[in-house]
Symmetry: C2
Subunit: 140 residues, 2 copies
Amino acid sequence: MERKKAFKEFMTRKGLKSTQQREIILDEFLRSSSHLSTEDLYLRLRKRHPGIGYATVYRTLKLFAESGIAEERHFGDGQTRYESVSGQEHHDHLICTACGAILEFENPEIERLQDKVAKEHGFRIKSHRLDLYGLCGKCQ
Amino acid sequence: MERKKAFKEFMTRKGLKSTQQREIILDEFLRSSSHLSTEDLYLRLRKRHPGIGYATVYRTLKLFAESGIAEERHFGDGQTRYESVSGQEHHDHLICTACGAILEFENPEIERLQDKVAKEHGFRIKSHRLDLYGLCGKCQ
DNA sequence: TGGTAAATTGATTTTCGATTTCAGAAAGGG
DNA sequence: CCCTTTCTGAAATCGAAAATCAATTTACCA
């Protein structure tokens, strides 16, 4: 799996150590659905690995984000969520405010317009966030 | 000022009371620049009205948001900011990650594309957020 | 206009997620 | 295998948001 390799490379480059916990957390993270909070992942892990503490999960997710294999997300609820990132393709989110469902979408045309807007204002964009909030088909 | 009227109407409709503090907070809020945090507004008010407590500012800003004359905003720093809303025109934000400057922009075409995306996924959009993060002209 | 019920206020406390601390444990280079 | 550095887990701390509560203020109406 290329994300595991990318993470390992990052760790080496930074002089950080490979530990059993980090291996386990990475595996569980990659296996799980996206948009998990630290709490979510911690609870999942606890089933098979009760020894792993919350702080370690928290720090390891931060590392994932730093290494580029994950991204932090903030949707309205006060929780930080992590999403695994594969390659370069960017996507945005549709969030159902009733059931909490999160859908991903891509729209290159919107991206292009964003760049145009930024240019018009003299900005150099490093990242962006586009979240659409509403009701999904089921919840309407 | 129409926003004051709109707020008064909201208060009446909800059976809430008009108080001296709420008047003062509303005046200061409308007079101030946008994107203020609760803390910001509280500190401003304290100069002339030391008696007004933080909790009252906090609750009153919530009321503004509920009434529709203000909107809550969350940009990367862990603070809730409030922006006064006039009429219907919507806008999005460019945020400089170096100096914290916040620029507003409007782009109807992006809005249109968002609606299209939502429709394609069976969503009914209630709100959205588009934040572009990067470096402003000065900070590059 | 005075009485009263309901809402509001300000200080404080509580909550909650995020982050830090620290002593003991593990990694990994020599 | 040793030694230095990094890591771990439990617990403490932090900061903003939210809730609490007794005292106060408001709105309404007799």
